[in-house]
C-alpha cells in the first residue's frame, strides 16, 4: 500500500483515530465539526457516544481512560463546544489523564472576525493542556494526530487538543500512517533520565538502613500500568515497611494488605499521617507532595530523608526539597530497585521495624474512622461501609463527585486493585463522577460501576442521565443526600462561625421521580433498615439507577488536618477544638 493516501481532512481525522486503535469517541456535534460527523456516519469502526453537554464528554473520556489505561477521545464543536471542555481538560491535566480532544473551528478565512461560535480555542486551552494544535493544512492532520497521541501518553500523561477549521475538514490532503511519522526527540515528552544507576544505589542504601521507613504512594503508580502496582506491592513486602496512599494512589497496594495504612492527607488516616510525620526515610513513589497531603509545609515530616521517584522532573523540589530524586517511570525504576535489593540481599533491621510497627499499631488504636452509628438516621460512613460489603465480590468501579461523600468513599470503601477508583483529585471537579462512570461503563460493559455522589454535585452533570439511558448503561448513582453542599457546610461550621452562607440546597428534585422521568430506576433509603435492600436492588437492576440515600444532615468528615496545620495536628472529632491561632492562619488557605 502506498505510503500516502489522499482523502478529505475529516476522513484523515477518522483514519488517524482508527490507526491509533481508538474504539470510542465521546462527543457532541455542531456547525464546525459537521464534516467529521458526516464521515463518522459513513463508517463502523469507531463508536460515538453522544453526551448531553460537552463537559460530560470529557469527563466520560477521563473515566474511560482511567479505567482502561487507554487514551480517551473527545469530539466537540467550536466556540461553546470548546469552552465547555475547559474544566475537563484542566481536570485531566491535574490528574495526569491521557486525553485527545478534537475541536472544530470556524473556517480559516473567518478566524479573527468574531464569527458565530468562534473562540480562540488554542489560546484558551494553552495553559490547561499538555500541548495543543491549530491545524491549517490537511496534509499536517495525520502527523499532528499521531504526535498528539504520543504526547498524551508519554511521560506524565495529560490532555492534548487538536483544533481543526471547518475548511480543513473539507479540503483534500495526504494521509500519513502512524509508522511513517518521525517525531523529533525533544517533542516526545520523555523524562530526562540522569544518572539513575547511582541514584538507585543511593535509594536502596537509604532504605536498607531505615529504622522508621514509610512508602508514600501516588497516582503515578497507576499511570505507569498494572505492573507498577505489582512491583510496589512486592517491594513493600520485601522491606516490611508501612505504606500509605494518596487519593489518586488508592488501589495500588490493596487496602486489606497488612502493610497498608490507607490514605494520608487532609482526611487521611491518623496512623498514616503520624507515620509520615515521624518517619526517618520517606519513599515517595509517583506522588507530588500536594498541599492536601503535606499540610503545613514547614512542619512536614521534619526529620526524614526523602526519596522521590517521579516521571515529571518539575515535581522534584517543587514544594518539598528531597534528598534523593529519581526521575523515571515507576515500573522501570522499581524494577531496578528490586533487582539491586535482591542482588545485595538487603533487609531492614527487624528489631527496628518491629518497634516502628508497634508505634504505628498504637496510633491505629485511636481508630480514627470510628463513628457512632444511629438507628434512626443513615450515617454516611455506614452507607459506604454497606455499599462496600455488598459490592466487594463483584468487579466494581467506583467514581465520585467532589466533597464529603468523596472523602467518605476514600475512607470507607476498600480498594484492592488499581484503576477501579476514579475521582477528581487535583482540580476537585464537582460533576466529574457521573460522566466518568458512563465512560468507565462503556469501557467495562460487564462491570458494576457506581458513582458515589452528593446531592449538590450530581446536579452539575445530571443531564447525562439521558446519555446513560440511551446507551442502556447500568450505571448506579449512589447519592448521599444531606441537602447541603456538605464540605462547604463543614468548613463554614469549623472556620466561619456556623454561618451557612448559600450551602443549603433548597428545592432539590425528587431524585426517584427524576430517575423515572429519564426512564431509569429510582430508589430511596430513608432509614438504616432500608439501606441493604436498596443497595441490593440497585446492584441487581440491569438499568441506570439513582439510589437516593437520606443521610444525617450535619455529619462532618473526620479525621481532618485543617488547612495550615501539620500531620501530627489532626482533628479527630467535632468536640476536639483546633488551636485558634492556627485556625485563623489556615482560614486564608483553601
Amino acid at each position: 500500500m502506498a505510503m500516502k493516501q489522499e482523502m478529505t481532512g475529516a476522513e484523515i481525522v477518522l483514519q488517524s483515530l482508527v490507526d491509533q486503535s481508538v474504539e470510542v469517541v465521546f462527543g457532541y456535534p455542531g456547525g464546525a465539526v459537521l464534516p467529521i460527523y458526516d464521515t463518522l456516519f459513513k463508517q463502523n469502526s469507531i463508536k460515538h457516544v453522544l453526551v448531553r453537554q460537552e463537559g460530560g464528554a470529557i469527563h466520560a473520556a477521563e473515566g474511560y481512560a482511567r479505567s482502561t489505561g487507554k487514551v480517551g477521545v473527545v469530539l466537540v464543536t467550536s466556540g461553546p463546544g470548546a469552552t465547555n471542555v475547559v474544566t475537563g481538560l484542566t481536570d485531566a491535566l491535574m490528574d495526569s489523564i491521557p486525553i485527545v480532544c478534537i475541536t472544530g473551528q470556524v473556517p480559516q478565512h473567518l478566524i479573527g472576525s468574531d464569527a458565530f461560535q468562534e473562540c480562540d480555542t488554542t489560546g484558551i486551552t494553552r495553559p490547561c493542556t499538555k500541548h495543543n494544535y491549530l491545524v491549517k493544512d490537511p496534509n499536517k492532520l495525520s502527523p499532528v494526530f499521531h504526535e498528539a497521541f504520543v504526547i498524551a501518553q508519554n511521560g506524565r500523561p495529560g490532555p492534548v487538543l487538536v483544533d481543526i477549521p471547518k475548511d480543513v475538514q473539507f479540503a483534500n490532503g495526504n494521509y500519513t500512517k502512524k509508522e511513517n511519522i518521525i517525531i523529533p526527540s525533544h517533542r516526545l515528552f520523555e523524562p530526562r533520565i540522569f544518572n539513575n544507576n547511582e541514584k538507585i544505589n543511593e535509594v536502596v542504601d537509604l532504605i536498607s538502613k531505615a529504622k522508621k521507613p514509610i512508602f508514600y504512594i501516588g497516582g503515578g503508580c497507576i499511570n505507569s500500568g498494572p505492573k507498577a502496582s505489582e512491583l510496589v506491592t512486592q517491594f513493600v513486602e520485601m522491606t516490611g515497611a508501612p505504606a500509605t496512599m494518596t487519593l489518586m494512589g488508592l488501589g495500588v497496594l490493596g487496602s486489606s494488605h497488612q502493610n497498608s495504612l490507607g490514605m494520608l492527607g487532609m482526611h487521611g488516616m491518623y496512623e498514616a499521617n503520624m507515620a509520615m510525620h515521624d518517619c526517618d526515610i520517606m519513599i515517595n513513589i509517583g506522588a507530588r507532595f500536594d498541599d492536601r497531603v503535606t499540610g503545613r509545609l514547614d512542619a512536614f515530616s521534619p526529620n526524614s530523608k526523602k526519596i522521590h521517584i517521579d516521571i515529571d522532573e518539575s515535581n522534584i523540589n517543587k514544594t518539598i526539597n528531597v534528598d534523593v530524586p529519581v526521575v523515571g517511570d515507576v515500573t522501570n525504576v522499581l524494577t531496578e530497585i528490586i533487582k539491586i535489593w535482591k542482588k545485595k540481599n538487603l533487609k531492614i533491621n527487624q528489631t527496628d521495624i518491629k518497634l516502628w510497627w508497634d508505634q504505628i499499631n498504637n496510633w491505629k488504636k485511636i481508630d480514627c474512622l470510628h463513628f457512632i452509628n444511629n438507628e434512626k438516621e443513615i450515617k454516611p460512613q455506614y452507607a459506604i461501609q454497606r455499599l462496600y460489603e455488598l459490592t466487594k465480590n463483584k468487579k466494581t468501579f467506583i467514581t465520585t463527585e467532589v466533597g464529603q461523600h468523596q472523602m467518605w468513599a476514600a475512607q470507607y470503601y476498600k480498594f484492592e486493585k488499581p484503576n477501579r477508583w476514579l475521582t477528581s483529585g487535583g482540580l476537585g471537579t464537582m460533576g466529574y463522577g457521573f460522566p466518568a462512570a458512563i465512560g468507565a461503563q462503556i469501557a467495562n460493559p460487564d462491570a458494576l460501576v457506581v458513582d458515589i455522589a452528593g446531592d449538590a454535585s450530581i446536579l452539575m452533570n445530571i443531564q447525562e442521565m439521558s446519555t446513560a439511558v440511551q446507551y442502556r448503561l447500568p450505571v448506579k448513582i449512589f447519592i448521599l443526600n444531606n441537602e447541603y453542599m456538605g464540605m462547604v457546610r463543614q468548613w463554614q461550621e469549623l472556620l466561619h462561625g456556623g454561618r451557612y452562607s448559600e450551602s443549603y440546597t433548597d428545592s432539590l428534585p425528587d431524585f426517584v421521580k427524576l430517575a423515572e422521568s429519564y426512564k431509569a430506576v429510582g430508589l430511596r433509603a430513608k432509614k438504616p433498615e432500608d439501606l441493604d435492600n436498596v443497595i441490593n436492588e440497585m446492584i441487581n437492576t440491569d438499568k441506570t439507577v439513582i439510589a437516593d440515600i437520606w443521610i444525617s444532615k450535619e455529619e462532618n468528615c473526620f479525621p481532618m488536618i485543617q488547612s495550615g496545620s501539620a500531620h501530627n495536628e489532626m482533628v479527630l472529632s467535632k468536640d476536639q477544638k483546633q488551636d485558634r491561632e492556627a485556625a485563623e492562619k489556615g482560614k486564608v488557605l483553601v
Binding site: G123, F189, S314, I316, V322
Partner: protein, 180 residues
C-alpha cells in the same frame, strides 16, 4: 559528587538576576506558551527577546531575563522543558561566563545649545548616529545593559529623549548550546 540536573539547589540562595536562553521550534503560539507559563505560575519577566536563529530548521532563540532564587529559577527551567516545542533551556549564569549585549535606539531633542555636549557623550559611548529621511537625531547604541543605562542617564540630564531597548541577548562563551 556528580551533581544531577534535578538535584536540589542550595537553600541559601538569594534572589538575583538570571538570563535564560531557550531554544524552541519556531511554530505558531510558541512564544505565548513560554510567557504564559511565566504569568500563569507567577514568575517575573524582566526582559524578553525572541528571533529566529535558523531559518532552515525553523528554530528560534528566546532570551529571558528573570529574577529569582536558584530554587525558583530551577523550577522555571523545568517548567520550560515541559513545553513541547522547547528544545533546551540554559541558565547562562549557571553555565559559567556569558557575553550579553543589547541594542537601544534613542531619539534626541537636539538644539544649538546642547549639541556639543550631546555629541561628546555619544562619542564617548560609541553611539552611532542613524541618518533618516526626517532628519531627526537618532542614535544607536549597543553593548552591555549597564553601559546603556549610564548613557541614557547622562543624556537625560541634558535633554528629552525617546528610547526603545531590545532587552539583553546573551550567549555562553563556553560551549555551543545548540543541541541536536
Amino acid at each position: 559528587m556528580n551533581k544531577s540536573v534535578y538535584d536540589s539547589p542550595d537553600n541559601t540562595s538569594v534572589s538575583r538576576r538570571h538570563i535564560l536562553t531557550v531554544l524552541v521550534d519556531n511554530e505558531p503560539g510558541v512564544l505565548a506558551r513560554v510567557i504564559g507559563m511565566f504569568s500563569g505560575r507567577g514568575y517575573n519577566i524582566e526582559s524578553l527577546n525572541v528571533a529566529e536563529v535558523s531559518n532552515d530548521e525553523h528554530l528560534s532563540r528566546i532570551t529571558i531575563v528573570t529574577e529569582g532564587t536558584l530554587e525558583v529559577v530551577s523550577q522555571i527551567e523545568k517548567q520550560l522543558l515541559r513545553i513541547v516545542p522547547v528544545h533546551s533551556v540554559y541558565n547562562l549564569d549557571e553555565e559559567g561566563s556569558a557575553v550579553e549585549a543589547e541594542v537601544a535606539l534613542v531619539n534626541i531633542d537636539l538644539n544649538e545649545k546642547n549639541k556639543k555636549k550631546i555629541y561628546e557623550i555619544c562619542d564617548f559611548y560609541r553611539a552611532r548616529k542613524i541618518e533618516n529621511e526626517n532628519n531627526s537625531i537618532i542614535f544607536e547604541i549597543a553593548g552591555a545593559s549597564n553601559r546603556i543605562n549610564r548613557f541614557i542617564k547622562e543624556i537625560n540630564q541634558i535633554t528629552r529623549i525617546d528610547i526603545v531597548r531590545s532587552g539583553p541577548v546573551a550567549i555562553s562563551t563556553h560551549k555551543n548550546t545548540k543541541e541536536e
